[in-house]
């Protein structure tokens, strides 16, 4: 189709039909302010802050929702436009509890930026805040929802609908009473919200934020009686730099380790270690289930088996597909495996009483905060993971400590529980757990490496919504002969909207798989709800690239080759799925209500 020609601020531009005025302006590097618009979401066009003027037309046009047409003359910065935008922002601020100096979102807040850019003074519209009643819900260990900061842009509602297909948030009531609400205005922790934090990543204001534990961590660090252990998830190291002024897609593992030591953590360890351990446990569980189904013909064996490392996914399936819970691997997530080992095996090793250990994790994820607070997660006899920080919170702490992050020299994780394989690194990307599991399971069964160039199982990589891969098993070792010639059918989904599609197909029998990987967040953990803001497809692709680079550069690429994991089995766990494993590394799930 022919391009459409128009002028924006008197500059000629030629774009594809269907391009919006906002996108056309972006092409000319003209920035139009937006609030309800977000690249990952469909257009809502409800805030009107993006209006532009079409020469000759009376009404201003919302540029995010208006497609280009031939010969248009658009002005993005006329007086009419400026005045209109200013009134919009002014009105929003008039019913907004604008206590920026005390607000967690300050600095990162889009409303604050616009208010300052448009010089919203004090003598504009009257302040409606004292006249309104607002609800602040800070009862969830993951997410705080503060209606007094909400501008009703509905990015959160669209996020939860379109990316997650959950609809935990809705628009309730009407007119001036209209608000973003959960089912019956219940607290977030009671409803179907999976704590994934995707809405937090997209809320332009401080209305949806993570519950932060920064002060609790500082307090613990400054308690001389406590030994502070920190673990860092795979996806943190490819995104932390973004929150500290670096460009997207850089691996900052060494600097992150150095910064954690400078902050005062006594043991700086790696969740990647337990990611490798997860692969051993979960991989063996899969093989055991296959054996149960194929050889023993045991009707109680549930296939397909799904992964269990994403706590957003776990809470989702507990609410929405409780009848499929037996299909979820019982293996705990790497965070919780780590926590359970820290206060048992590791405490013993470093000769510190477990009650004197404070176990902190740094996660790309808000749902991990909820997970750490689940009553099941006390396998060590203590709370296995005491405090969970997001990537964003760690960045904030590094800033608070006055550390010049970019200038730090690279350092190495401590040992024990600091060594990991490339298979663990890719846990942070969609398809990574599947790839890691296949690298191990295939070798267990056949004694040979997976038949993919450089161990790179490319069919399960990338940002496609749902990926399927079938691996044919041939020339098995004798004890796995029942798998000879079998085709292992796998499926990978990221974002719960895609997981729902897969689960519906599995439930109806339309699709049959053996193993399904689900990550609650778009792109996997690298796109997690605790990662630096902003997020969009391009940024996620950068982080993903960084992850696979890190994998390729690792001397060890397969979980079962991790020498520390091997040693852990020798010294402590004895065997995969053994007695100790069951006690510490596996868990159970609960059915939850459907709201």
């Amino acid at each position: 189709m022919n391009n459409i020609n128009l002028t924006i601020d008197h500059i000629e531009v030629s774009v594809q039909p269907e391009t919006t005025l906002l996108e056309a302006a972006k092409k000319l590097k003209i920035k139009i302010p937006t609030l309800c618009y977000h690249e990952d979401l469909c257009v809502a066009g409800n805030c009107r802050v993006c209006v532009v003027e079409q020469v000759g037309a009376d009404r201003l046009l919302p540029s995010c929702a208006t497609p280009v047409s031939e010969g248009m003359e658009i002005l993005t910065n006329s007086l009419k436009v400026r005045n209109a935008r200013k009134s919009v922002i002014d009105l929003l601020v008039s019913e907004h509890r604008a206590d920026c100096t005390r607000c967690y979102k300050s600095e990162g807040c889009e409303l604050q930026h616009l208010s300052s850019e448009y010089l919203i003074g004090e003598d504009s519209f009257i302040d409606l805040v004292p006249l309104k009643e607002y609800t602040i819900d800070y009862f969830s260990p993951s997410i705080i929802k503060d209606d007094s900061k909400c501008i009703r842009c509905q990015r959160c509602v669209r996020t939860c609908d379109q990316l997650q297909d959950i609809g935990a948030l809705t628009v309730a009531y009407k007119g001036e009473e209209m608000k973003v609400s959960s089912f019956f205005e219940k607290p977030m922790y009671e409803v179907v919200c999976t704590n994934c934090g995707q809405c937090v990543n997209r809320c332009p204001t401080g209305a949806l934020i993570e519950r932060n534990y920064i002060d609790e961590v500082w307090t613990a660090i400054n308690n001389p009686k406590k030994h502070l252990v920190v673990q860092t998830a795979p996806a943190v190291r490819v995104a932390l730099g973004e929150a500290l002024g670096m460009e997207a897609g850089l691996v900052v593992t060494g600097k992150m380790v150095a910064a954690l030591r400078r902050l005062g953590f006594d043991s700086v360890l790696d969740t990647d270690f337990t990611a490798d351990l997860t692969i051993i446990e979960e991989g063996n569980e899969l093989l055991q289930r296959l054996k149960g189904a194929l050889v023993d013909k045991n009707p109680d064996v549930n296939l397909p088996m799904t992964t269990s490392c994403s706590p957003g996914w776990i809470k989702y399936i507990e609410h929405m597909y409780p009848e499929m819970l037996p299909n979820v691997s019982t293996a705990k997530s790497p965070q919780q495996m780590f926590g359970a080992l820290v206060k048992t095996y590791y405490a013993n090793k470093i000769k510190v009483e477990p009650e004197n250990i404070v176990s902190v994790s740094v996660m790309p994820c808000t749902a991990k905060k909820y997970e750490a607070n689940r009553p099941e997660m006390h396998a060590s006899g203590y709370k296995d993971v005491d405090l969970v920080l997001t990537t964003r919170e760690l960045a904030k702490m590094i800033q608070q400590a006055g550390i010049d992050f970019e200038a730090l020299e690279n350092e190495e994780f401590d040992s024990f529980m600091g060594t990991s394989s490339g298979a663990a690194v890719i846990f942070g990307a969609t398809g990574g757990v599947m790839e890691a599991a296949l690298r191990t399971a295939y070798e267990v069964v056949t004694g040979r490496e997976v038949p993919f160039d450089g161990l790179n199982i490319t069919p399960v990589r990338g940002m496609e919504e749902v990926k399927e891969a079938t691996i044919k098993i041939e020339d098995t070792l004798p004890e796995w002969s029942f798998l000879e010639g079998a085709e292992l059918k796998t499926c990978v989904a990221h974002g719960l909207a895609n997981a729902k599609k897969v689960m519906d197909k599995v439930r109806s029998g339309e699709a049959s798989y053996h193993f399904i990987e689900v990550m609650a967040c778009p792109g996997g953990c690298l796109g997690g709800g605790g990662q630096p803001i902003p997020t969009n497809a391009e940024i996620r692709a950068q982080r993903s690239k960084a992850i696979y680079e890190e994998d390729a550069g690792k001397p060890i690429r397969k979980s079962h080759d991790n020498p520390e994991v091997i040693k852990l089995y020798e010294e402590f766990l004895k065997e995969p799925l053994g007695h100790k494993s069951h006690e510490l590394l596996h868990t159970s799930y609960v059915e939850r209500n459907r709201y």
Binding site: I166, G167, T170, A172, K174, F183, F184, R594, Y595
Partner: protein, 165 residues
């Protein structure tokens, strides 16, 4: 299956399981149960595979889809501008006096609920109110007193009747 499940299922069999079916199904539940309980909304959500929060969002948007238990007689007084100009506040005052409840409340015996609503399309005969499905127009405080008295009376009569039976 619970009674609510059955009700929702039969409504869905009737109206379909599409997004468009939501409103008629909710209306159907209100007709039978007088209000939408949490249970009802969850069942509707499950039946047409949408989020329970969205069912609540829709219900909260329409003032006729009650989300809390209602009295046997739901009195809705128009609060829109024409009726307001014709003294709707005095009508409410009188209703509050007669029913011994405040706006938004339900009487102890579960007989009456007093609410405000938007324009009833009776502006030329305002102030107007609706009691269940019956509109009452050109209201005056006196008229209101008579209406309420006669409803209470009716109830007494029918109660007496059932007692006799």
């Amino acid at each position: 299956m619970t009674e609510m499940k059955n009700l929702v299922k039969s409504l869905a069999d009737n109206y379909g399981r599409y997004h468009e079916s939501l409103l008629p199904i909710l209306q159907g539940v209100v007709e039978k149960k007088r209000f939408l309980s949490e249970e009802a909304m969850v069942e509707v959500a499950r039946e047409i595979d949408i989020s329970a929060a969205h069912v609540f969002g829709t219900a909260s948007f329409y003032s006729f889809l009650n989300t809390s238990p209602m009295g046997e007689y739901v009195v809705r007084v128009c609060k829109t501008i024409t009726c307001m100009m014709h003294g709707k506040n005095l009508i409410i005052q009188e209703l509050e006096k007669q029913l011994k409840i405040k706006l938004g409340e339900t009487s102890h015996d579960g007989k009456f609920t007093l609410l405000e609503t938007n324009c009833l399309g009776q502006c030329h005969k305002g102030p107007a109110m609706l009691i269940n499905d019956t509109p009452y127009t050109n209201l005056t405080p006196d008229k209101v007193r008579d209406i309420i008295q006669s409803l209470k009376q009716n109830d007494l009569v029918s109660n007496a009747a059932t007692q006799v039976n």
